[in-house]
């Protein structure tokens, strides 16, 4: 039963790549926005917060469609990017973009919650010892929110592994290029007799995500232990 066809292997590899990149690329802006939302007051904060949550609220098809309109090669962002050689449409990078955007709210929330849990008194202590805001962030806040970042990243990774609606709407379902595991599963489910094949892929997808989840739990426990101090 676990013989995967070369195309399916491709889909596995692509899903992994997409989910990894989506997660990694979303992390820096995710951390930054989470920090801004947790610690700063600025005009438009509520709007930013709303924007971040948008992909959660909209049906994925709508998000995918919006991406297609804006990041497509003829879209207002896609066209100029194409000029400088960056193309998302119908590339795996587009799948990563879609997955990253869909996963973004989950990641930001998790990181934001951990930032809010950091005692500002520790950050103050860092400042009195000469660390500028940025250094305080890097040496105090960041290490203390590592478990939150990890939680955000794993949520994002899981979401990216499962993301389908926005991806297939934005970059279609081209084997070897944009066909991720969920898209492949979807295609199997559209025809008679495809269930067994779909199930195989579901199992693979779940196995990957569970492994990632387990690793993150172990890592997170390690971090927590260090901070608890022994």
């Amino acid at each position: 039963m676990f013989q995967l066809s070369p195309e399916e292997w491709q889909a596995v590899a692509l899903s992994l790549r997409v989910a990894l990149w989506a997660t990694l690329a979303a992390l820096p802006p995710g951390i930054f926005i989470a920090f801004a939302l947790a610690r700063w007051e600025f005009p438009g904060k509520q709007i930013l917060n709303g924007l971040v949550h948008l992909p959660l609220i909209l049906p994925p098809v709508v998000t995918g469609y919006v991406l297609l309109l804006t990041f497509g090669t003829r879209g207002p962002i896609g066209a100029p990017l194409k000029e400088i050689g960056i193309v998302f449409a119908f590339r795996w990078s587009g799948a990563a973009l879609a997955a990253g955007i869909m996963a973004f709210p989950l990641m930001v929330r998790a990181i934001r919650l951990s930032i809010e849990a950091v005692d500002p008194k520790l950050e103050q202590a860092g400042a009195t010892l000469g660390a500028s805001r940025l250094w305080v962030f890097a040496t105090v806040t960041l290490p203390l929110i590592l478990p939150g970042i990890l939680a955000g990243a794993i949520l994002a990774f899981a979401k990216a592994m499962g993301e389908f609606g926005a991806t297939i709407t934005f970059v279609s379902n081209i084997p070897g290029q944009t066909q991720t595991l969920p898209s492949a599963i979807y295609a199997f489910l559209q025809v008679p007799g495809g269930e067994a094949s779909a199930l195989r892929l579901v199992v693979v997808s779940v196995a990957i995500a569970m492994t990632a989840l387990m690793l993150s739990e172990i890592l997170s426990r390690k971090i927590a232990k260090r901070v608890a101090g022994t």
Binding site: K121, L122, Q124, A125, G126, A127, T128, L129, G130, A131, S132, R133, W135, V136, T139, V140, P143, L144, R226, V227, A228, G229, T230
Partner: protein, 364 residues
């Protein structure tokens, strides 16, 4: 360098309105719990921005509401020992200690880590994280962290409160050295009369968010009309100098025309020293007593006499050019018929002086 502080702020029911000038050396802030000490220190550190006022070190303003100056904390070069230790839980003790080093300018004298670690007795903790440290261990690491940041201003909020007497005795000399040998101003909160007497160059007594009294340690502790540390703490601070070390373990000090014997002081002859003589340790005698164990029998003149409301009285004396206070009962005032101008003897045990009043004393 001196520190100028003048701030006004109000938190709901509590309002702070203080102004004082801390001369070079160590300024002790004291006052009852809730009187605003930590608030002032936080304002000096830049962790809290008062409604109005000015804070300056020498000519350099850290905060000036009129001129809209506000130096962020990380540019103030502080060594702040927090009332709650605030160690970084994710760093080892060693990393905590060296944290300030990353940001301090590399030039200038650097206190070696080992010295501080040894003084604080935290060598065995260096590789541990703060999570499992005891209260006192935490406090000591916090002291070390602040001192190792090469600060140009030290803020210490009850740094020794959680420590045992022996440990205090080991750390106090370090603060004395900082006070005497560096030009770093130190703002120090303490409730302990012994620490105040021993460390303070200047004392600011707070009450309900205002300055109740300010002056040099000698003035504040020697003024019979104020007893901000409680009646038990009234006392005189003598500016003395080590003159000799005797073979039987006693040291001889001179303060004005006075000669005092105290247990061995680990300082070279000629070193200036501050000696805190608590009023309650000074006995008065109208004739020179004989056959007694007290080694210091000092001829003195009564210069002021103040009867309290209770059974006690505070007697201010001049002894060889020094002001000394003595606390006696009213009954003794009557029995000895004490009057201003009276000549008598102040009797002082060597061990009483040594108790906590002298730097570098070897607790015999």
């Amino acid at each position: 360098m001196s520190l100028d502080v003048a701030i006004r702020h109000s938190f709901g029911t509590f309002s702070l309105d203080i102004a004082f000038k801390a001369p070079p050396g160590l300024t002790v802030l004291f006052g009852r719990s809730g009187s605003g000490k930590t608030t002032i220190i936080n304002a000096v550190a830049g962790l809290f921005r008062p409604d109005a006022g000015r804070i300056a070190i020498g000519e350099r303003a850290l905060f000036d509401s009129a001129q809209r100056i506000w130096l962020p904390p990380h540019k103030r070069r502080l060594g702040y020992i927090f009332q709650d230790a605030r160690l970084f839980p994710h760093l080892t003790v060693r990393q905590n200690l060296l944290y300030g080093r990353w940001f301090a300018p590399k030039s200038g004298p650097q206190e070696p880590l080992d010295n501080v670690v040894e003084m604080l007795g935290i060598g065995p903790l260096l590789t541990r994280r703060p999570g499992g440290l005891s209260g006192g261990e935490r406090q000591r690491v916090a002291i070390g962290r602040a001192l190792l940041a090469n600060p140009r201003l030290i803020l210490a909020d009850e740094p020794l409160a959680a420590l045992d007497e022996a440990r205090k005795a080991e750390i106090l000399p370090y603060f004395e050295r900082l006070r005497d040998e560096t030009s770093v101003p130190i703002l120090y909160v303490s409730h302990a009369p012994a620490e105040v007497a021993r460390l303070a160059t200047s004392v600011v007594a707070l009450q309900n968010g205002g300055v109740a009294r300010q002056g040099s340690a000698t003035e504040v502790l020697g003024d019979p009309s104020v007893t901000p540390l409680g009646a038990g703490a009234a006392g005189a601070v003598l500016e003395a100098r080590v003159t000799a070390h005797h073979p039987d373990g006693l040291s001889e000090l001179t303060a004005g025309d006075l000669r005092l014997l105290v247990p061995h002081v680990a300082r070279a002859p000629g070193t200036p020293l501050r000696v805190h003589v608590e009023a309650q340790d000074v006995m008065l005698a109208t004739r020179r007593p004989e056959g007694i164990s007290a080694l210091n029998v000092l001829p003195a003149t009564v210069t002021a006499l103040r009867l309290g409301e209770g059974p006690g009285a505070l007697v201010q004396l001049d002894a060889g050019g020094n002001v000394i206070l003595s606390r006696v009962t009213r009954r003794s005032v009557a029995a000895l018929d004490l009057r201003e101008g009276q000549q008598l003897y102040a009797v002082l045990k060597a061990v009483s002086v040594a108790k906590d009043g002298i730097a570098g004393t070897d607790p015999g």
